[in-house]
């Protein structure tokens, strides 16, 4: 894949900012949901949906599409926002998140919304599904890629390691997993709740190629995904270090914001801040 120009990267950064605003608007309308991880992951989702994935938003079931499994399903607002902005469904529908009858369930359900590869929410299940898919696709000589996004707190689940062991053993090189390494989970910092480090060494020991990257740096992240394509002996894990709550200064790094903002008022304030920040970035780019 050809290297992106600075303008192209800026365009993706604008998309990420738009995704962040959409996420906060969605949560504000829903009155519940998770905020920190979706904001931290917005850059990666802009990169995926507006550049990396080979997909057709108007034809979600297109047979040759890349498959994107979202394992940490609670972060689904960021996926919904990216999908809406890229054209899977109207942006207005985002405001139906978590409402009765909505296709945008609080945790994503494949059968309700075209474009989802799996139903997720209970943690530790995406990597196994993605590995099964990758194994089957390789069996049939398919060339599309399979991606699986996971959280870091999710690494506490034993089932993740069952799947990691399997994927490494079977050298599923068509599989790229990403860990959103934001260092927080519900009860506190990951290294206090149940220390995960050394994550790189752990995955390497399971026969994965591991790339560490700044997950809020779109160019670096895209480069990492490109590198993964070139690795043909084993699956790749991208350990993407991100800032939880990225874009809203008050909550960046704060595990208390794993869930919903403390009040609607606070959510509105975050939205205002994001929008102001958006203005600033635009002016800097001009």
């Amino acid at each position: 894949m050809a290297s992106l120009t600075d303008d192209e990267i800026r365009a993706l950064e604008d998309k990420a900012q738009h995704i962040r605003e959409t996420v906060v608007e969605m949560l504000l309308a829903a009155g519940s949901g998770h905020i920190a991880s979706p904001l931290g992951m917005a850059d990666m989702f802009a990169a995926f949906y507006f550049h990396i994935l080979n997909h057709r938003p108007a034809e979600p079931a297109w047979a040759e599409r890349d498959r994107f499994f979202l394992s940490n399903g609670h972060t689904t607002p960021v996926r919904y926002a990216a999908m809406a902005l890229v054209g899977y469904f109207p942006r207005e529908e985002c405001l139906t998140l978590r409402k009765f009858g909505s296709r945008l369930q609080g945790h994503p359900e494949r059968l309700r919304l075209p474009g989802l590869e799996s139903t997720s929410g209970p943690l530790g299940e995406g990597l196994g599904q993605a590995a099964g898919y990758a194994y089957a696709a390789r069996l049939d000589g398919k060339s599309f890629r399979i991606f699986c996004m996971m959280g870091d707190g999710e690494q506490d689940e034993g089932s993740v390691w069952e799947a990691a062991l399997f994927a490494g053993a079977h050298r599923l090189h068509n599989l790229t997993a990403i860990i959103d390494r934001n260092n927080i989970q519900i009860d506190g910092p990951t290294e206090q709740v149940l220390p995960l480090e050394n994550l790189r060494a752990k995955y390497e020991a399971f026969n994965w190629h591991v790339i560490e990257v700044d997950g809020n740096n779109i160019r670096a992240f895209i480069d990492a995904v490109d590198e993964a394509r070139a690795i043909v002996e084993k699956p790749t894990l991208i350990l993407a270090h991100t800032i939880p709550g990225k874009g809203v200064k008050e909550i960046e790094y704060d595990y208390h914001y794993h869930g919903y903002p403390k009040s609607k008022e606070e959510a509105r304030q975050f939205l205002h801040e994001l929008r102001t920040l958006g203005g600033k970035i635009t002016s800097e780019h001009q």
Partner: protein, 327 residues
């Protein structure tokens, strides 16, 4: 007397021919391997005892050894199915769906993936392995899940047909098999239609309708034979527990006016509960339940455990007599 349309073996009562239901499953996989290239088999380090080994040897590319990892067994199966394969995931029922219930719930049932969950060694008849390996709650777990279907074949021949039928059903299926050799009762001519019960025994003017699932159908038939001169009964083979053949249940219950259910499973939440749910709504009659009464199993020989936990022929006879007294 034996119902002619069931085409049961004339010598069923002698129990000369015995085979574990898991053997019928293994044989069906070979048929499916040849018939349907979409079929793949995943196994969690139990290839021989789950009887998937012949498939693995004949179709190595379509066999996946997962290792001792039942949670991954379920999620991998979901992934294979999402791609377009028809995966059979095989382990012991105590572990799958025992250990991986939530993976089955989310990634197979809610996600509506055509994964065939194959639970071996179900019931106390596992024998010496003891309580940890004797799944007695799997029917309850699986039948409570929306989208899931549940089949519990009565013998190896029926297990063969059930396994083929599981592929024809485009959705999640739970197949329940036993470890122990049990009597062959059905023949290749015996009809097997997914979701349709078959009458195996029909006395003149039956006073009690016995509904049995799994290999204990033999004990139910033996009880019917023993009672032949005193209390006429009907015996219905309920291989499909979900969707339950409500019409057959109601018709037999209406004809007899009293019911006995027979299963090698906890009474709570199991097959008998499913029958009771239907009858409570559509045709309330007295019911007696033959099954395990809120206990775990233990080590022992299969036959002594069946007796100890109240699922022997004499227990069914006693249940029939008791329920007649409640009419």
């Amino acid at each position: 007397m034996l119902e002619n349309n069931a085409h049961l073996r004339a010598d069923w009562y002698e129990g000369k021919e015995q085979s574990p239901t898991r053997d019928g499953f293994g044989r069906a996989l070979l048929t499916l391997g040849e018939q349907d290239p979409r079929v793949v088999v995943l196994c969690a380090d139990l290839a021989e005892s789950t009887r998937v080994l012949p498939f693995a040897e004949k179709y190595p590319d379509r066999f996946v050894e997962v290792g001792v990892a039942e949670q991954n067994l379920a999620t991998l199966g979901s992934g294979f199915a999402a791609y377009g394969k028809i995966p059979f995931i095989a382990s012991y029922a105590a572990f799958s769906p025992g250990r991986n219930y939530e993976q089955i719930r989310t990634t197979i049932a809610l996600n509506q993936m055509p994964v065939k969950v194959c639970g071996m060694h179900a019931g106390v008849s596992v024998g010496p392995d003891g309580a940890t390996h004797q799944a007695l709650e799997d029917i309850a777990l699986m039948r409570a899940l929306p989208h899931m279907t549940v089949i519990s074949p009565c013998d190896a021949e029926e297990a063969y047909k059930a396994t083929l039928a599981a592929v024809a059903h485009d959705g999640p299926v739970y197949l329940r098999f036993g470890r122990e050799k049990t009597a062959l009762m059905t023949t290749p001519k015996t009809p097997f239609v997914f979701g349709k019960a078959t009458t195996a025994w029909l006395g003149d003017a039956p006073q009690v309708a016995i509904f049995a699932t799994g290999p204990l159908l033999y004990n139910a038939l033996a009880a019917a034979k023993e009672l032949e001169k005193t209390i006429a009964v009907s015996v219905t083979n309920m291989h499909t527990i979900k969707p339950l053949d409500r019409d057959a249940v109601v018709a037999a219950a209406r004809a007899a006016g009293a019911v006995v259910t027979v299963e090698e499973h906890q009474i709570a939440g199991g097959f008998g509960s499913a029958v009771a749910e239907v009858l409570a709504q559509l045709h309330p009659v007295p019911i007696e339940f033959v099954g395990v009464r809120d206990q775990f199993g233990q080590s022992g020989e299969p036959s002594e455990l069946i007796e100890h936990y109240g699922m022997g022929i004499s227990h069914i006879v006693a249940a029939v007599k008791k329920v007649v007294g409640r009419k």
